[in-house]
Point group: C2
């Protein structure tokens, strides 16, 4: 079986999908679709066409799964339900609070058109969600802890950039080491927002900006920073480019719980990711699940799916026999 | 839905299943079956009958899933295929090398009788297998590392107990901290057997036994100890009972790999378990998967399954909607 993939949107995520396809023997990149002028978009694969997004529908029969690489704020809520009318689709929609609505929209569209769709694939939502589901099921009496970082938070960086006098900003979310250690030791701590993560901001000022006022405005910003211990560093544009262009990220999911007649035995389950490239890792997860989408479609299993619905065997290039013999 | 469970075999694992059922709202323990004289077996649940194993077949219609809590060496290879003729069954068969044969036997039996069976459920095989499968799929270019411990290895303890002059023995498998750290740092080390784990043995001697000769025999025992750095401690029977009766265990699964045009980005995925009670945790996993077995049976999905075949949604007491809203 070869899974023929199309990419819609060639940013960091689209580029990552292009790379991830090359690590498999059974997926193939058929075309990259862009809303920009195709002649302005140079991709890494010389023999793959770059096509205007308006032409997508004429590729219906050449693509098994369309990997939609847009943003969760405005792109995916429109694109995924729309293209599920014509394609099997997969996205990495990551606005947790809006997942039920997005699911309902995509499901309606995919069920009506007899396609298989999958949303919220990546690491959180994605692998972290899987960990929460598995560990809650196998350890019903316990507590969940999720920590993010160290990594750049796009939303918090954007919030700083919107401040008058700020030319550029990058904000790192960092788990508090003592909190991690306490959870890891099975102490079941009750942690406030401030006790779980610290925030570190690197800011480039516009000429004449008031550093002290900006630092105060950042640290007191409600929702984003007021509930955290935040450190602000003012740096030059050169330093920003040299030291803060990376896309590393990661995090931790814990389940800490007990078993036994009197709950006398404690257990700690820990899952962690250390990622040099957040978008490339997310893309790698997308490509594995795109394989599952094609297999479900071939079985006539239509509608919208999430990572909770997919048996692990469908993700693998290896046969069930090979998996049982070598990985079980 | 209530899942009515029977337990076959009331050792540590059977007792663990009995405990785990109490942590759920949708499973119920119907009876405990034993090969011993039922009147000699006292269980923790006063209102659950203890029944002779020979009477099992008359309970066919009262049990949704039979949890077979025997040993992998001689019990399960016989019991699981046999009882899959009459029941939906689940076991924790953990002799990795024999899984394909056990699978084939159980599958033939369950397919013929239209039952759903599941083998090799627990943490290794089980959750660790899941981690290997998921992480291989999402990071195809990489290396796997599994470490066990710190915990008692039953097989290695038994090997020492068979030595002339040994009254009792307990052997701990312990991961080497430097090896863990190197893998965690993404250094992709090539590790020999000796570099991954150390072995620590606690031995009670029979009167007049030659401690020096026994220590040498342990350390030079092929397969079991010769390839490891092993420490041997001679202790009293009282000390054995006081300090080495615990059933704690655990371990680590890592996937370390790269993505990017030139594989320039490294990623490390780590999953670990720290368990106060190995059998109670294994039992907890069995009960969650027993729920899935019943659901697959109700869907008419017969034959033998492993953790690779089960979508996570089937493990949970929560509805798919709740899982999407709260854990995705």
């Amino acid at each position: 079986m070869t899974v023929r993939l199309g990419i819609l949107g060639y940013g960091n995520l689209g580029r990552g999908v292009e790379c991830a396809v090359k690590e498999t023997n059974d997926t193939e990149l058929v075309a990259v679709f862009t809303r920009r002028n195709p002649s302005d978009v140079t991709i890494a694969s010389p023999d793959v066409p770059v096509v205007a997004a308006e032409e997508l529908l004429s590729w219906k029969d050449k693509i098994d799964v369309l990997v939609i690489c847009g943003g969760s704020a405005t792109d995916l809520p429109v694109q995924t339900p729309e293209y599920a009318k014509y394609f099997n689709v997969i996205d990495s929609f990551d606005t947790h609070a809006n997942i039920p609505t997005h699911f309902a929209n995509v499901n309606a569209s995919a069920e009506a058109s007899h396609h298989t769709a999958m949303i919220s694939v990546g690491w959180d939502p994605g692998l972290f969600s899987l960990m929460r589901a598995y560990t809650n099921a196998v350890l019903p009496n316990g507590s969940d802890y999720t920590f993010w970082g160290k990594g750049v938070s796009q939303g918090h960086s954007d919030a700083i950039r919107r401040i008058e006098g700020v030319a550029d900003a990058r904000q790192y979310t960092i788990p508090v080491e003592e909190a991690l250690q306490s959870v890891r030791n099975g102490e079941n701590p009750e942690l406030t927002t401030r006790q779980k993560h610290i925030r570190e901001a690197f800011v480039v000022l516009k000429e004449g900006a008031d550093a002290e006022a900006i630092e105060r405005e950042i640290k007191e910003m409600p929702n984003y920073f007021a509930d955290y211990d935040t450190t602000v560093h003012f740096i030059s544009a050169e330093e920003m480019k040299a030291n803060h262009s990376g896309l590393a990220h990661g995090g931790f999911v814990f389940r800490s719980g007990t078993t036994g007649v009197d709950h006398e035995h404690g257990h700690v389950i820990e899952f962690s990711l250390k990622l040099d490239s957040n978008p490339e890792f997310t893309s790698s997860v997308l490509v594995a699940y795109a394989r599952a989408v094609k297999r479900l479609y071939d079985q006539g299993d239509f509608g919208c799916k999430t990572v909770f619905d997919i048996p692990p065997v469908l993700l693998s290039e290896s046969s069930p026999e090979e998996l049982r013999a070598h990985l079980l």
